[in-house]
Symmetry: C2
Subunit: 559 residues, 2 copies
């Protein structure tokens, strides 16, 4: 048996990894540091600490107690940050509600989580109006009027700021078991009901510590005392990637943009000196578009990109505007940080090398163990070539899908968490996501990486958006087709789309089987509720259907 | 009750915070990265992992098992790093032996810890020869010949490299309770037997994660993938401040200097591109002296300084040579990282401001809660003025002094760990150590900070080393005297020594009661076994003794 400490000083402090302790050092160093909400309000970390006590007091006044689930429906705000801390710190569970789901799905997630108190921004009153009769467990609703002078709904117990002002800042927060559940939220696939994941205090504290480490590893960039942080990922989505917890732990200035409005976001960047954000590629494109229209400068703004692949085309667009884009990798089940990109040690310093390194999925952060495996869970080599399902271990992975033992068992089959992403890993630990397991395309016995093809095609000027899917083919098993939303005013041709692919074949980067013999044009690509391209819908539409535009003959060079 | 997760996937991986997991991400990203030993050997992280298995196998072959204490006596080496990992990873306890203690004290610590296997560098054979008869529990000794072709001592079971080469790299490391003890070592005061502290796997993993965070906070400097790390603190001394664990977790290049030889250290810096070290001020002085003699460049070398205060004079000497010095704070009981300096947010960018910020004790790292308290444990304000004993909470503080319940109880009196350092804390969290509790000087009702006086006096060209102590005084209660080792060829006068103090009085920085009316000259200042100035010895020598050189009258301006 390993040795246990048999003795302890009677008064030795037992230190649980609870979320409240993330504030300990921050409150010593950063009492005067600011937290900003849009152009509407700002206060200090010292005031923030008082508001955590007030929020806990007001919730307790509405009947909140340890173990109860309290649901938040708000845009990215200082109030959301307050809920990130105060609700778990009082021993309750914070449900971060995905307000983009259908009303039926939102009701399903609230009931499934057993939420008893709702904290709701007035933009979501119509949603709550529609579903409240379906929520028998809810016993109190707090309204967030956010400066609006509209009327409180009849079902609201009061308004957030008014209730907060009347509540005591001295809530008696106590320590408790670090394995208590702190947060829960729901992840949606393209099939079935949303699935609930949950994370404990211990998991989130460890995630915060480890998620911070890679910023130190990134030669180009460490999150530092002079940084100003602004999330551009919905705070209901996987703890806004956990970075609000990191920023608060480090005591740096934070800016919350509220409802995403491109001009407001650019204005806040400029007025508050924002240096660090994270978002999906769509938001970057939106920010770039606004900046190009208004002449806003994007210099010195570092963004972690996730959710979808960071294409090299988008990376270049960022670089041209001195916007620094760095890809990361994670998912709802992983809290989410698993990997983040950094400059490759020993690289030649060229922009090409930098771009290649920063647009991978990333290198695992500390305490993450990552493997690629075949269907029988045999590990595959990390040679940058072999492809297998990425499976993970880390201290902050959800232990289950709440109340869904079958899905939980599949998630953890063989003692590793299954990502359902097909990836390769190279000798320097760079993970490259090649495909979703369910989206893989096999043609003529060769695996085609749809994400690689999409990245190459996205660099073509005539393409606004692209998805590559596999469709059944009598001769080849499957063939890839590219579904393209054209850029305004230019009609893509098969030849134009195949040009970058042929170049990549010539460079030996992709198989010649990847050359396309069919493309499809659409106005926009269908998206899931979290903004990802819905390939299932695309396959349903195009797999069985004859081509809608003339397809080329399969290029003889390709087969 | 906070909610516990009631369900778990049957195969969900339970992730203990054990030291072996620090390697998980590093082995994925840095298999080809190097670990270097002097100019003698180098190998990859991949080989390092194999050597951990071999070391565990060879120790198991000598009877090592879980819970057993295994003691290391070596210079700073790759072998020591191997022991940092392999011994705890096999569930045994690593004792890092302070080889600078007297033979009797070394024997005391080995017996007290119950060490059963010793791993000993040949430089310490004479020490082991002398004490082995006093060590009845020791059942095996492994000799480190380190390239020497001397004979193995009769009591050695074999040589480290030979035994390692013959052992299997596939030791079956298993996971176990993160609260198992991983390391133990002994701290010496100036009185009594050395006191044992111990740290668990959980504590060291959390320390590693949190100790890494501030490198990200330091605007000037993050530990990054292109850094090359070389410890210049003995590895027996508080895990070499925990940085070998951080460097390994991050997978960066590491260089181990062996026995400290100034020329070797400067050569390794140059040949291996060392960018990051940590040491006590004495080592910096030694490195600077060698560089000045040999013309070696110190550019781009960042050093964390602890153990004793980083004086502004030394900081300037470093800056003149482009050597970047940053103070940190910790102690044996704290694993050790508690605080580290960084540039002050919002500072004016001047060198003076930078120096002032980087020569404090530091700002608390994440998860550290720090207070200054009066004798009744009442917290004092963080205004940069109020002085009280610094007390701490953090997840990695020793829970006791092994087998010493009285000292343990004192250490944790009131539920906070007592540092016995008198400090102030300012609004931005910068801790300034003013004195040791036992060294405080009170004169005319005013507290005098001996460390502040020492810093001011150290800037005088005629001073090589200085210590300020209090001696009893009939009229004033106590009076400070400065004990000075003069710089070669210059005899300090009371007037010269008082000049910088008078300037500081004029600037309002120190009390006029601090002006000296007595200085004492010595050849060198007496040091403790860990190289700190032994003020107890100085007080014993000078408190009762008449002044050895003419003292001035107490300056009328001062009283």
């Amino acid at each position: 048996m390993p040795l246990r400490i048999a003795e302890r000083a009677p008064e030795a402090h037992d230190f649980p990894l609870t979320i409240g302790h993330l504030l300990d050092a921050a409150l010593i160093s950063s009492g005067d540091q600011e937290i900003v909400y849009r152009d509407q309000s700002r206060y200090t970390y010292r005031a923030f600490r008082g508001r955590l006590g007030r929020l806990a007091s007001l919730l307790a006044g509405l009947g909140a107690e340890q173990g109860m689930t309290i649901a938040m429906m708000d845009w990215d705000s200082h109030r959301y940050l307050e809920a990130y801390f105060a609700v778990p710190m009082m021993g309750a569970v914070l449900q971060t509600v995905n307000v983009r789901l259908s009303p039926q799905q939102v009701a399903y997630t609230l009931n499934h989580a057993g939420a008893e108190i709702l904290v709701v921004h007035h933009d979501f009153f119509p949603l709550v109006d529609a579903i409240l009769p379906m929520l028998p467990k809810v016993k109190a609703v707090v309204a967030i009027m956010d400066g609006s002078d509209g009327a409180l709904p009849a079902y609201a117990k009061g308004e957030y700021e008014a209730l907060s002002a009347a509540a005591s800042p001295d809530f008696p927060f106590v320590d408790f078991d670090e394995n208590a559940v702190a947060t829960t939220f729901y992840t949606t696939g393209t099939t079935g009901d949303p699935k609930g994941v949950c994370f404990t205090h211990r998991q989130l504290v460890l995630h915060t510590l480890a998620a911070n480490a890679p910023f130190g590893v990134t030669r180009a960039r460490g999150l530092g005392v002079d940084d100003v942080y602004m999330p551009l990922t919905p705070m209901f989505h996987v703890h806004a990637w956990g970075i609000p917890y990191v920023a608060t732990m480090l005591g740096i200035k934070q800016v919350y943009p509220g409802r995403y409005e491109p001009k407001m976001i650019c204005d806040l960047h400029q007025a508050e000196g924002v240096t660090f954000s994270h978002c999906v590629p769509t938001i970057v494109q939106m920010v770039i578009a606004v900046a190009d229209q208004t002449g806003a400068k994007l210099d010195g703004w570092h963004m972690i990109i996730g959710g979808s692949a960071l294409t090299q085309a988008l990376w270049r667009e960022g670089r041209q505007r001195r916007l620094s884009l760095i890809a990361g990798y994670g998912m709802s089940e992983t809290a989410p940080m698993i990997a983040i990109c950094h400059d490759r040690p020993g690289a030649d310093g060229s922009e090409e090398a930098e771009m290649a390194a920063l647009t991978m999925a990333g290198v695992p952060v500390p305490l993450v163990s990552a493997r690629i495996v075949d269907a029988d869970m045999n590990p595959l080599p990390h040679d940058g070539q072999a492809r297998g399902e990425l499976v993970l271990r880390a201290p902050w992975l959800t232990p289950c899908y709440t109340g869904n033992p079958e899905a939980s068992e599949q998630l953890w089959r063989g003692g590793w968490m299954h990502t359902q992403d097909v990836a390769s890993i190279d000798a320097q630990g760079y993970i490259q996501i090649r495909d979703r397991l369910k989206d893989v395309i096999k043609t003529g016995g060769e695996w085609i990486d749809s994400l690689t093809l999409e990245d190459l095609i996205a660099g073509t000027p005539c393409v606004a958006e692209v998805a590559v899917i596999g469709v059944a083919d009598a001769r080849w098993g499957e063939r890839p087709i590219a579904v393209i939303a054209p850029a305004a005013g230019i009609v893509p041709t098969l030849e134009a789309i195949n040009a970058p692919l042929a170049a990549a074949v010539a460079r030996g980067e992709i198989s010649r089987y990847a050359l396309l013999d069919r493309i499809e044009l659409v106005d926009t690509l269908p998206k899931t509720s979290v903004g990802k391209i819905d390939k299932k819908a695309l396959r349903a539409r195009f797999a069985q259907q004859p081509a809608t535009m003339p397809t080329g003959k399969m290029l003889s060079a390709a087969v």
